[in-house]
C-alpha cells in the first residue's frame, strides 16, 4: 500500500449529452466569457467537474443528475425548452431562483445544488490546471494571482511590488525548477 494511492478511476460516461449541455450552460452563466476574459466553459470548468465526478466526487454524481433534471424541468415548464436552449436572461432568472430557493416545491435542494455547482466551477476556474480547468492560467490571470514559484524572495512579499507572472502547474513546479 502506498500513501499516495487514490481511489480508482474509470472512464465511464458521467453525463448524458443533455446533462452535459445543461451543465455547460450553467457554468457559463456563473462565469461568463466577456471583456474580462474567457469564462468557465472556455477554461474547462465543465470538463473539470465531469472528471471529478468520475473519481474524487463520485458520491456527488446523483446530486448532479437530480439538480440538472430539476433545472431542465423548470425550464420546460416555463418555456417548453431545455435550460441550455434558453436565452441568457431566462437562464439567469431560473438560476437566481435556484440560488435563492425562491420556488420551493418540486425540488427542495435547489440552493444546495446551485452552491455545489458554483463551488465546483470556482475550483475549475481558479484551481491548478493539472485538474483539467484553468486553461492557459486564465483564472489566475483574472484575479492577478502571480503563479506558483518554489522560492519567494522578501521583495515579492512587499505590498507595492509588481510581480512577474509565472505559469507553472504544481506538477511542473515539482518536477522542474528545484
Amino acid at each position: 500500500m502506498s500513501a499516495l494511492r487514490f481511489a480508482g478511476t474509470t472512464n465511464a460516461e458521467v453525463f448524458t449529452p443533455n446533462e452535459r449541455h445543461c451543465l455547460e450552460a450553467i457554468v457559463s452563466r456563473i462565469i461568463p466569457a466577456d471583456t474580462n476574459g474567457p469564462g468557465a466553459v472556455e477554461v474547462g470548468c465543465a470538463l473539470y467537474i465531469e472528471s471529478a465526478l468520475r473519481d474524487a466526487y463520485r458520491s456527488q454524481k446523483s446530486a448532479y443528475s437530480a439538480g440538472l433534471a430539476a433545472l431542465d424541468s423548470r425550464a420546460i415548464e416555463r418555456t417548453g425548452k431545455l435550460f441550455a436552449a434558453l436565452d441568457i436572461n431566462e437562464q439567469d432568472r431560473i438560476l437566481s431562483e435556484f440560488e435563492l430557493n425562491t420556488r420551493v416545491g418540486e425540488y427542495q435542494d435547489s440552493a444546495a445544488f446551485f452552491e455545489l455547482v458554483r463551488r465546483h466551477t470556482l475550483e475549475g476556474m481558479f484551481g491548478d490546471p493539472l485538474y483539467g480547468g484553468n486553461a492557459n492560467f486564465a483564472g489566475w490571470d483574472l484575479i492577478g494571482y502571480p503563479g506558483l514559484r518554489m522560492y519567494v524572495t522578501p521583495e515579492l512579499q512587499r505590498m507595492d511590488v509588481a510581480i512577474h507572472r509565472l505559469r507553472l502547474s504544481a506538477k511542473q513546479l515539482m518536477h522542474g525548477s528545484r
Binding site: M1, S2, A3, L4, R5, F6, A7, R29, I30, I31, P32, D34, N36, G39, A56, S59, D92, L95, E99, R118, R119, L122, E123, M125, F126, G127, D128, L130, Y131, G139, W140, L142, I143, G144, Y145, P146, L148, R149, M150, Y151, V152, P154, L156, Q157, R158, M159, D160, V161, I163, A170, K171, L173, M174, R178
Partner: protein, 568 residues
C-alpha cells in the same frame, strides 16, 4: 483467526502524530524499546506539492484512509437534533500525523490558563464561573511545564521573538507572554508587507502586535532548509522540509537510536488489559490480519476523538464500561476552540499571495485575562491573527461585501478588481468544559470495520457567544484602523468537530473527575499513558500543539524516571 502474537516490547505507542512522534525521542534516547503503531504511511517531501484542490478542498484524500471512515457525529445537546456530519475528518493518517500539514503555529499557554478557576474566583468572585462549567485548575503550573516547552522548541525548531525572558519584557515580542528561560532557537519568520501594515495599525490603537511563533524554519535548522515562503502551507505539507513536523524532526532522531520500530498501516482496534486492571498491549489490523503487540506500557496518542473512542471500545473484565472508565469520566469535559473573524476589503492590493499563515501578525490584548473582565460577562478571550498566504480559489471565493452579486459578469469584474484586496482577521477564543458537553460512542453510526464512531454532544453557551461578538468588534476596529473600506463578520463557529479538540481524558489529581493524573498516566490502569489535547482541561486562546508536545515530553520523562514503578 486468532491474532498473531508478536514479541513483547517495552512501550507500544498508538499514533505517531504531533504528540506520539514527539514522545518517542526522549523514550528512545533513554534506551526504551518502542514499537510505534501508525494507521497511515510515510510521506516523502516530494509528495507535498502546492495544490489547493488536493490539500484544502479535498482534504488530503490520499492520507485519510482511516480517519475518513470514522468521522465523528455531533448533536446539539443530549436530546437535541443531530448536526450535519461533514464529509471529511479534519485530521490525517501518516507518520507525523497532522503535524505534516498543520499551520505550525507554536504557542505556549499563559500562566492564567493553568489556573482559570482559582484566578477567576480571586479576581471576579465565584459567580463569574459560568453555571455548569466544570473547569478546574490544572494539576501543574506553567512554571512546571516551562522546561518542557523549552525542550520542544529546541528539538523541533520554533521561530519567534520572545516577549518575556525571565521577566525582561521585550516590546518586539508578545508582551503578554509568560516568562521563558531563553529566546527562541530561531528568529521570527520574515516580515511581510501586509503583516507590517496591520502591525502598524494595531500599534496606533495602542495594542501590542507581534510576529507569532511557528515550527517553521526562519533560518536553516538541524540540517533542514529555511522556509521558501511559496504559500500553500496552510493545510499543506512542506516540499523542502522547513515545516517541523515530527516526521522530519523528532522521529528520524528517535529511529537513529535503534530503539524505535515504526509499523505503518497498523490500525489499532483495542487495548487489552488483564484481571488486575493493567494494560497488556495493543491489538491491531494490518492488511486484514490481526496482530497483538504485547508491551509493558501502552501510550495512546491517536488524537482526542480516537483516544476517547479506543478507551470506550476496549472493554474487559476489569473495565466493563471501557478502559480506564470505572469512574465514568472518559469522554467528559469535551471542548474545542470557538472561532470567528471579520474580513476587510481594502482599496489597494495587499499582496498576501505568498508566505505562510503562521507568518502574519497576532495580538493578545484581548486574550485570557489580559484585560479587565468586570464589565463583559464572560471569562477568557481571544487571540487575533492576520495570516499571510492567499490561495487562488480561496481568494476568488471572497465575500462580495454587499457590493456585487455572487456570480455572473459583474461578479467576475468584482473579483478581478478585489481578489487581492481582502484579508481576514481570525479570532481564536478560549473555551471551557461544561457538564452537558461530552464525547461518547454513537449508538447507530459505525466505521468501515463495524465499530461505533465517536459522537459529540455540544451546544453554544451564552458566555461564548458574548466572547465571540466581543472579539468581532475588536477585529473590526483593527481592520478599519488599517484602512478597510468595508468589513464583513464571519459566522460564529461554536464548539464542534475540530482540529483543536480538548478533553475526553482530562488530566487532574482527583480520579472522580479526571481520567489521567498530573503526569498523563491513567488513574485506573497504572501502565497506560495518554498523550494529546484530550488530557487538557483548558484550551487557552491559542493552538494546542506545542502544549501537547511539552506535555508528551513530560509524560515520557516521568515514565523514564519511574520505569520500575510503572512498568513492572
Amino acid at each position: 483467526m486468532a491474532p498473531v502474537n508478536l514479541p513483547r516490547t517495552d512501550v507500544v505507542l498508538i499514533g505517531l502524530g504531533a504528540a506520539g512522534g514527539l514522545a518517542v525521542l526522549p523514550l528512545a534516547r533513554a534506551g526504551l524499546k518502542i514499537v510505534g503503531l501508525e494507521a497511515g504511511g510515510w510521506f516523502r517531501s516530494a509528495d507535498h506539492r502546492p495544490d489547493e484542490i488536493r490539500n484544502n478542498i479535498r482534504h488530503w484524500p490520499h492520507a485519510v484512509q482511516k480517519a475518513n471512515q470514522e468521522i465523528p457525529t455531533a448533536r446539539n445537546g443530549r436530546d437535541g437534533p443531530p448536526l450535519p456530519r461533514p464529509d471529511y475528518h479534519p485530521m490525517m493518517n501518516g507518520v507525523g500525523g497532522t503535524s505534516l500539514h498543520y499551520w505550525g503555529q507554536s504557542w505556549r499557554l499563559m500562566q492564567w490558563d493553568f489556573k482559570v478557576r482559582s484566578e477567576t474566583i480571586r479576581r471576579y468572585g465565584v459567580s463569574a464561573i459560568p453555571p455548569g462549567c466544570t473547569v478546574e485548575d490544572w494539576p501543574l503550573s506553567y512554571e512546571e511545564l516551562e522546561p518542557y516547552y523549552d525542550k520542544v522548541e529546541y528539538a523541533i525548531g520554533v521561530s519567534g521573538k520572545a516577549g518575556n525572558v525571565q521577566g525582561n519584557i521585550s516590546r518586539t515580542g508578545n508582551v503578554f507572554e509568560s516568562p521563558r528561560q531563553r529566546e527562541y532557537p530561531m528568529p521570527p519568520l520574515r516580515a511581510a508587507g501586509f503583516a507590517d501594515h496591520m502591525a502598524e495599525a494595531a500599534s496606533r490603537l495602542g495594542w501590542h502586535p507581534y510576529s507569532p511563533p511557528a515550527a517553521i524554519n526562519s533560518v536553516p535548522y538541524d540540517k533542514r532548509s529555511a522556509c521558501f515562503y511559496h504559500g500553500f502551507c496552510g493545510s499543506g505539507g512542506c516540499p523542502v522540509n522547513a515545516k517541523n513536523s515530527t516526521a522530519v524532526s523528532t522521529i528520524p532522531q528517535a529511529i537513529a537510536t535503534g530503539n524505535l520500530k515504526i509499523v505503518p498501516y497498523a490500525h489499532v482496534i483495542a487495548i487489552e488489559s488483564d484481571a488486575y486492571g493493567r494494560v497488556t498491549g495493543a491489538r491491531y489490523l494490518s492488511d486484514k490480519r490481526e496482530y497483538f503487540q504485547p508491551a509493558s506500557v501502552v501510550l495512546l496518542a491517536g488524537y482526542t476523538y480516537e483516544n476517547t473512542r479506543l478507551l470506550l471500545l476496549s472493554k474487559s473484565k476489569a473495565y466493563p464500561r471501557g478502559l480506564s472508565n470505572n469512574h465514568g469520566q472518559v469522554g467528559l469535559h469535551y471542548m474545542s476552540h470557538t472561532r470567528t473573524g471579520v474580513v476587510g476589503l481594502f482599496s489597494f492590493d495587499l499582496n498576501r499571495w505568498y508566505g505562510t499563515p503562521a507568518q502574519g501578525t497576532a495580538l493578545d490584548d484581548w486574550a485570557d485575562d489580559n484585560f479587565d473582565h468586570s464589565e463583559v460577562e464572560f471569562i477568557g478571550g481571544g487571540n487575533l491573527l492576520v495570516p499571510m498566504e492567499a490561495k487562488p480559489i480561496e481568494a476568488a471565493n471572497m465575500s462580495t461585501f454587499g457590493k456585487a452579486p455572487r456570480w455572473g459578469s459583474s461578479w467576475k469584474a468584482f473579483v478581478r478588481e478585489n481578489a487581492a484586496r481582502w484579508a481576514p482577521v481570525w479570532a481564536q477564543i478560549s473555551t471551557f468544559p461544561f457538564e452537558d458537553r461530552f464525547l461518547d460512542l454513537d449508538p447507530a453510526v459505525k466505521d468501515s470495520l463495524g465499530y461505533p464512531v465517536c459522537r459529540l454532544t455540544v451546544g453554544l453557551k451564552e458566555t461564548e457567544e458574548r466572547a465571540m461578538r466581543f472579539m468581532q468588534e475588536k477585529a473590526e476596529r483593527w481592520l478599519r484602523e488599517a484602512g478597510a473600506i468595508a468589513t464583513n463578520q464571519l459566522p460564529l463557529f461554536p464548539i464542534g468537530l475540530s482540529t483543536h479538540a480538548y478533553g475526553g481524558t482530562r488530566m487532574g489529581e482527583n480520579p472522580e473527575r479526571n481520567v489521567v493524573n498530573g503526569w498523563g498516566f491513567s488513574h485506573e490502569a497504572p501502565n497506560l499513558g495518554i498523550l494529546g489535547a484530550s488530557t487538557m482541561g483548558t484550551s487557552g486562546a491559542r493552538n494546542p500543539t506545542l502544549t501537547v508536545q511539552a506535555l508528551a515530553w513530560r509524560t515520557a520523562d516521568y515514565l523514564i524516571r519511574q520505569w520500575k514503578f510503572i512498568a513492572e
